[in-house]
Amino acid sequence: MKFAGLVVKSVRRNKRRTTLTVLSVAIAVFLFSSLRAVLDGFKAVSAASSSTRVVTLRSTSMIFSMPTSHEQTIRSTPGVEDVTYANWFGGIYKDPKNFFGQFAIDPVSYLRMYPEVILSDEDKRAFIEDRTGCIVGDGLAKKYGFKVGDKIVLQPGIPVYGSQDYEFTVRGIYRPGASNIDHQSMMFHWKYADERSTIKGQIGWFVARVSNPDQATKVALAIDQQFANSAYETKTDTEQAFTAQFASMLGNLNLLLGSVALAVVITTLFVAGNTMAMSVRERTTEIAVMRTLGFRAATIFSLVVGEGFLVALAGGVLGALFARIIVNAEALGLSGGFIPAFGVNNFNVLVGLGLSAFIGIAASLIPATMASRLKIVDALRRVA
């Protein structure tokens, strides 16, 4: 530790070079932490998905609907505690580009099923009482400036809902209590949409709560068996399995983001390694003098590694800090729906710092070996 001063001195020797290297490492750590955060966002959704909820869809595909009569059958399935249902609306808010999730729900049972949708009692009551009322996520409210009492007009995007515009009144702004709830969605009365549908009584999916999570798969199977060989066969999965499937359809994210992250690390290793090599080469004579004075090879080795470590860590701190401030769900205001909200958390920051330490040490290994194996006589004879 007594050589800390020496390490700092050598770091400050060529300020411009150190700055450039610190910045490159900072950028790498910034990118790396952000990519990790995206992956974590997907993981968090499936982790927060409840294992006591099962989702029932048409077996052919989620774009087909089921008749309302399925509700009673599901409710009477042994092991089922509660049932609610919803439908995808797919309306257009002013411009098709303004995409966000719109769900036609049964307010009372849906909010009972999803306590994670946090709404004040007052707003909840107002929403339930107003047939054309709706609730929006806090993220969506922020994005479009929706306030309680505002009117939202949606143009139906799916022919089943007719061609006339739908007008809604914002009755509440909900807060997501867990990451499986999207904070940029809109929910309204299923009845309102159903009244104007060309095909009545259609439901996109049912959600049922099972009393015992260990029985979830069994109950799911029991639900499907009741509809087997009917015109509306179903496929029931736990919520967890359902979200995992959805994420996997976005493509192989793990592989794609993983290889990009690897490329980031390798590029930075090249840059940092290069700097360290240059800095050692520049000081060949100096190192030879130190060796002559009695500094041991091991000391020289750790001095160089220490220098690399310090520079890279400085970059790491900078990059991770930046990522923590800039890449958070609120600042980005990402549109919800398919891509879950994500942000760099403290753990990502730690991983980024660890990565920068690794880069610093790995990049300085070869230069440090070079420096410690220096032949004093040759080095002293050499002119710069």
Binding site: S24, A28, L31, S61, M62, P159, A231, L256, T267, V271
Partner: protein
């Protein structure tokens, strides 16, 4: 430039370790750039090559994709009667009423279900889509529960081989043929008789009608003929334009991601190049002084060092392109946001993309070399000569 050019080139070779590392950093950036753009390129290519300039697709007015469109049964004969529509040898209009629904099939790779589009088509669909070729089996016979499957779908999902039975829409369908379509999105689909798909999926009517135009250049007059008929509240588009639009959402998403990552990454590589070039200038202070004393102008010095930096970066660019080449033709899948289904496509490393990668590396080299080169040119001659 002869002497000074070779001087700079040779100095680069002297510092091969440093040069290799700098080039290596740039190579990684270019490789990432080319690979991610190859995904965007492949995705777009798969959709765009689905559309032909000779065809037009009719959708409900205001519909942005087939999924949200509707064409009524009585509208079909009205379209077929239009003189702009090409005829087959037997006089039938080359028009295919279509319906796309999504079914869920397990993926071969991980067994997880994914959405696969099933397209109900008219009997003349294969005459209209001339790029479709059968690699195995035969066309489905209209009026029977037979289907044809695209090659990509066969490769990605289980239970689609020839002769296998497929259960969807409360019926069983037999796979009788496998087709290719020049890597177009049709290769990810299952095709069958539209008139049997309608009842199977409780649909009344079609979603779109695709026609072969008798004269592809007369699209405008076809369009005005459709618009003029009040019984047709449909909007025709050139098939190619339609599919181009379909690729825009997901395609743009991939492209933005690619640009975001590579541009941030490239800043790091530029800093690396800058470091290297500053060091190069510092090592050669005396040589630069000599050159200046010999009468080489400041501009020549700047140009020489810039050229060195660009050359270094382009070497990296070439390596990056070579690194990225093996992904060409690799097939992968991604969800198409406009159809909600999985679209299989191949990474496409096009010559244009490679040129783009090289230009990108040259730009990185120029940016990294500029400041050090200016520094080299500004060195006071007398002091530079004294330097050891």
């Amino acid at each position: 430039m002869g002497l000074i050019g070779s001087y700079n080139l040779r100095s680069m070779i002297v510092r091969k370790g440093t040069a290799a590392m700098t080039a290596g950093g740039i190579a990684m950036v270019v490789a990432v750039f080319v690979m991610t753009m190859a995904i965007a390129q492949g995705f777009r290519g798969a959709l765009v090559s689905s559309g032909s300039n000779d065809n037009a697709i009719l959708l409900r007015k205001g519909a942005t994709s087939e999924t949200v469109s509707a064409v009524l049964r009585p509208q079909l004969p009205l379209i077929e009667a239009l003189p702009h529509v090409a005829r087959a040898a037997d006089g039938h209009a080359l028009a295919s009423p279509e319906l796309v629904v999504i079914i869920s099939l397990p993926r071969k790779s991980d067994g997880n279900p994914a959405n696969v589009p099933v397209r109900g088509v008219g009997p003349l669909a294969y005459e209209i889509r001339s790029t479709l070729k059968f690699v195995e089996g035969r066309r489905f016979t209209p009026g029977t529960r037979e289907v044809n499957v695209g090659r990509q779908a066969v490769n990605r999902f289980s239970g689609l081989g020839i002769g296998s039975d497929l259960k969807f829409g409360a019926a069983t369908w037999k796979v009788v043929g496998i087709f290719t379509a020049d890597d177009a999105s049709f290769e990810s689909e299952v095709w069958g008789d539209v008139d049997l798909m309608q009842p199977a999926f409780q649909r009344n009517g079609y979603q779109s009608v695709t026609v072969r135009l008798a004269d592809p250049s007369a699209f405008e007059s076809f369009e005005s003929a459709v618009v003029a008929d009040p019984r047709l509240d449909l909007k025709p588009s050139r098939e190619r334009d339609y599919y181009e639009g379909q690729s825009s959402t997901t395609g743009a998403l991939i492209r933005i991601f690619a640009l975001f990552v590579t541009s941030i990454l490239s800043i790091g590589a530029v800093f690396g190049a800058m470091n290297t070039m500053y060091a190069a200038v510092a090592y050669r202070t005396r040589e630069i002084g000599t050159l200046r004393a010999l009468g080489f102008s400041r501009l020549r010095i700047i140009a020489a060092f810039l050229a060195e930096s660009v050359a270094l970066a382009v070497v990296g660019g070439v390596i990056g392109c070579i690194l990225a080449l093996p992904v060409n033709g690799l097939s992968t899948g991604a969800m198409n946001m406009t159809s909600f289904s999985e679209l299989a496509f191949k990474f496409r490393v096009t010559p244009g993309l490679l040129v783009g990668g090289l230009v990108f590396s040259a730009v990185m080299g120029a940016l990294g070399g500029l400041l050090p080169a200016i520094r080299a040119a500004r060195l006071p001659v007398a002091r530079a000569l004294r330097e050891i």
